[in-house]
Symmetry: C2
Subunit: 669 residues, 2 copies
Amino acid sequence: LRTAHPEHWMRAAAIRTLTLDAVAAANSGHSGMPMGMADVATVLFEKHLKFDPKAPHWPDRDRFILSAGHGSMLIYALLHLTGYEQATLQQLKDFRQWGARTAGHPEYGHLEGVETTTGPLGQGIANSVGFALAEEILRARYGKNVINHHTYVIAGDGCLMEGVSQEAIGLAGMQKLGHLIVFFDNNNITIDGTVDMADITDQSARFAASGWHVLEIDGHDPKAIDKAIVAAKAETGRPTMINCKTHIALGHAAQDTSKGHGALTNADQLQAAKEAYGWDYGPFEIPADVKSQWEAFGDRGAAARADWDARFAKLSKSKQDEFNRAFALDAPKKLSATIKAFKKQASEAGKKVATRASSESVLEVINPIMAETVGGSADLTGSNNTKTADLGVHTPDNREGRYIHYGIREHGMAAAMNGMVLHGGIRPYGGTFMCFTDYARGAMRLSALMKVPTVYVMTHDSIGLGEDGPTHQPVEHLAMLRATPNTNVFRPADSVEVAEAWELALTEKETPSVLALSRQGLPLVRTEHKTKNMSAQGAYVLADAEAGKRQAILMATGSEVSVAMEARAILEAEGIGTRVVSMPCWELFEQQDEKIRKRVLPGGPVRVAIEAGIRFGWDRWLFGERGKREKSGFVGMHDFGASAPAPELFEQFGITAEATAQKVRELLG
Amino acid sequence: LRTAHPEHWMRAAAIRTLTLDAVAAANSGHSGMPMGMADVATVLFEKHLKFDPKAPHWPDRDRFILSAGHGSMLIYALLHLTGYEQATLQQLKDFRQWGARTAGHPEYGHLEGVETTTGPLGQGIANSVGFALAEEILRARYGKNVINHHTYVIAGDGCLMEGVSQEAIGLAGMQKLGHLIVFFDNNNITIDGTVDMADITDQSARFAASGWHVLEIDGHDPKAIDKAIVAAKAETGRPTMINCKTHIALGHAAQDTSKGHGALTNADQLQAAKEAYGWDYGPFEIPADVKSQWEAFGDRGAAARADWDARFAKLSKSKQDEFNRAFALDAPKKLSATIKAFKKQASEAGKKVATRASSESVLEVINPIMAETVGGSADLTGSNNTKTADLGVHTPDNREGRYIHYGIREHGMAAAMNGMVLHGGIRPYGGTFMCFTDYARGAMRLSALMKVPTVYVMTHDSIGLGEDGPTHQPVEHLAMLRATPNTNVFRPADSVEVAEAWELALTEKETPSVLALSRQGLPLVRTEHKTKNMSAQGAYVLADAEAGKRQAILMATGSEVSVAMEARAILEAEGIGTRVVSMPCWELFEQQDEKIRKRVLPGGPVRVAIEAGIRFGWDRWLFGERGKREKSGFVGMHDFGASAPAPELFEQFGITAEATAQKVRELLG
């Protein structure tokens, strides 16, 4: 290969040697994958990838997703070689060091050109389905003169063994995502040894079974690589998987071994590999002719982008504005007034409604004014109440559809939603039962880490779902989500708080939101209309002591706010002045000034928290924030739930107004 | 079909009508699946399943796993019809009611004959791989006269869309589990509509791609069903998938619709369905001849079991004892002495060791004396330190092997481990990086809910893993796990605590354990040998104030215990009497008497907690337990981690002895 394609060989060798040098400098990292896939990446960037290093955020660029994120030096080398400003040689030298953009795994937001955070295996390929769906939706809306690009993915054996990959493959196959092209780095090596120690799957047959176009090539032959990419682009009716037979750590003593997967730092072996490549240069040294070839690939995109600018300018002003607004994640001006009107109407109507149903009503007024929303559910559309009349179902025959039937694929859904936000132009939300955040956790954590405002609509948020029983009843999930940094967990108490939560979720730019919604009907507690978004404060006084001195503060969220209100009525009737604090979002309350927090939770009165979940985390508000250990109590769950009608469960587990009132009486002594 | 096989038809109709009656009585549930799969289940129980309703725990019974757990009435009907004592008619009438054994989804431990808790889709099929692996391992050990049975699974479209199913399929295919037989309930219906709205996967081709034997049949034709099961049993070199084309809610007005998936409660339609079946009986009424046919299938097993008893009696006494001990989850008597000896040696050696490496050393002495342990890792064997010299790798050619290369399949591994414990005779443990508990959550929650003592070896438990960066650094995971009911989360500080944690994990019968272990080397803190298992108390005084009055208590876990000890040295040198409390397991400490807890955490001194995770949950110990808000502090993480060498991360995030000492000084004013 070296002699047949000498120029290609040296370009690929630049990736390989930068990888070896950076890993040696860091004394850690993963050398083998970039070395094995250098040929594929070189041909892709040379001949196919539509990109402009000078405009890394160009909306119509091709997306390049390194699902096998441990091979981060591959993408860092590519970005450096093609001339991305942030990808300096110094950054490569600082690989994996404090403050460097070149983190151990590619981190979204650290380095331009990195489209998504990868490392947790399978996430990249699952994100890519979202990228490709976003492209289809936007192409249908804005036309192919404005949106018409490909999503390229490199995935390894690890990505493909993770279950989430099957969810991605299944969804992409059904949606016939013809602009999605996955390179499978088929090197037959994992950390523990050869792949057959754990898997004998024929990956080509597996992808084909889900409706993919499959090609098999020698992943080191530049002609074969080029030919395959040409064929993949020509196939517009199906996603393509290119099965690339490769050698991990090509040219190194550790080639084709699991040792080659990790950090190859031995100086002699490094030198021997360089010699095998015919690479007679020092650490981090790239000969000028090789560098200029690479930069030429980078420069190629400038003209394409200029053409695009001209085409974009031909869109109507209003289309341009909508496009730019959506890509900037700015909410439409109308949103605020729409939410206020909804709240007013809800307060006036005063109906008992399940918050999942309130959520649907809110979406009915939001979706028509926010073209960028894309809804969906993991096969619980009717239960999650995520579909509104105007969305249209997204299918290969209806690319304008804004509602996605994700199938029974919570993890794949979450990862695809992340991909859609990252693509730009889309604000996705998707639903499942709250208990199945367990299945989606891998991707939900990445929403938080990447700072993308994905919205999770998690219904059936407590034992209030009743008969389906403990497998479906979240008890620890609120705590788990609240424990996750940069995640706003909303548990609205009624239709008004639901509307407020949606407003906050859809104006957020850097934080994912979880809406925990009830299956069961909840009475309206916000009976007095306020234009202000009270939930934005995180916690606020819903009703204050009236019967005299404030002796108790009841704190509650979601379905238990009305329980607190009932308890308050009991206590006030007994002359015990009682405040009810609704706490729809702890995270937002924590961000408030001490002064505001103190106004809501002053020291003195006894405090009881009521939530149909476990206590874990509540001590922050019971004991902390001017609270007192001896004067605090909790009404909620202490273990898993049970299968029975919901009202009976609340009785049996003692989550009632009377139990709350009794707790207050005991604390008051 | 009704006329061709009249007796079979009536037997199957018994399942269908019991389902309709129970769902109508509960006014909730899922009717369609049991009605669709009644024929398959009838033939399986009639002609093939090896079971004895009088001995539901018979170790050599066939296992029947209803992965599509929402169809719980199928298994409840089967258990009732065949004569399981606990499955009374009254239980069917109390379906989904408080206190009934017949929960909304089948709950392990509620009703004999339910082998595993299902409902969260995909879990059953993933458990079943563990069941089948356990059977292979025990057959190799005890011989086929003692262990020789099949694992039968019913899985639906939902199970097969969940990613975890791919992990199960891949692992089972590679392991060539010839005694595993999966029926795919191919009814083309999900909650949102027809399957093709979300998936076009050819499931037969997909299973075949992973090395399965695949058959396709009409799932209502008893002859075809029987023939397929015969063929599946004859194929001993591969697992079999029987693709059963079925009609959901067969015979009901809702047949073949997604409405049929849910609760069919309409009285007229119910009556019409019964008429279509030729079923002229009232609610919950089973004609005597049909019931007696079913009971005869149940009785069939008694003879087989008596034969088995005789064969088992031929095992040597020591083999019998070992077998019975393992199935009872009793630890060997030697365990305690072995752990004590290890601790003594570790205290004397005083070496700095990563706790993941200590864990390997402990396993090196445990595995040889506990034949029931089966280790494994999700492709991180060398990093998780889970493999010991004596285990042998389990492969189709080495069924005695006790180490499983699970592949990059955290969720599948966790679910398979649950299956192994549930099968009996095995104590599994498996490793991955702690951060990827995110991937395994779905199954880890079920360990806790089912009360099975699966052991999770979670290494790389903090920013201490260094350069791999925030995608690999757990910060919220300790809180998430601690928030989960019935889960013991151990974070041992050194080799001695690691040994104690293993002893506790391996003597536990009803609680899963998580061992959070460090990547980095940790100094020995338990320098003085104590035979008592100090970790069993959950938290204990590691070092007390010596410099004078006890002014500070430092609480820490794992890698931060040595930080606390260093901080103590600084403070004591300044005359500030300082106690260090090691808290390897919060859950066990919470179970202690108030008196013991008070002895460890008396009121008075300032308290600082040190843990390289987020604060969430710590307020319980800082503010609660005689603590004071104004006199407490936390040294730990406040957000996600970063990519850099570990020592630099601890400095940058301020998790140091000096920062801890400074916090104490500030609190003391």
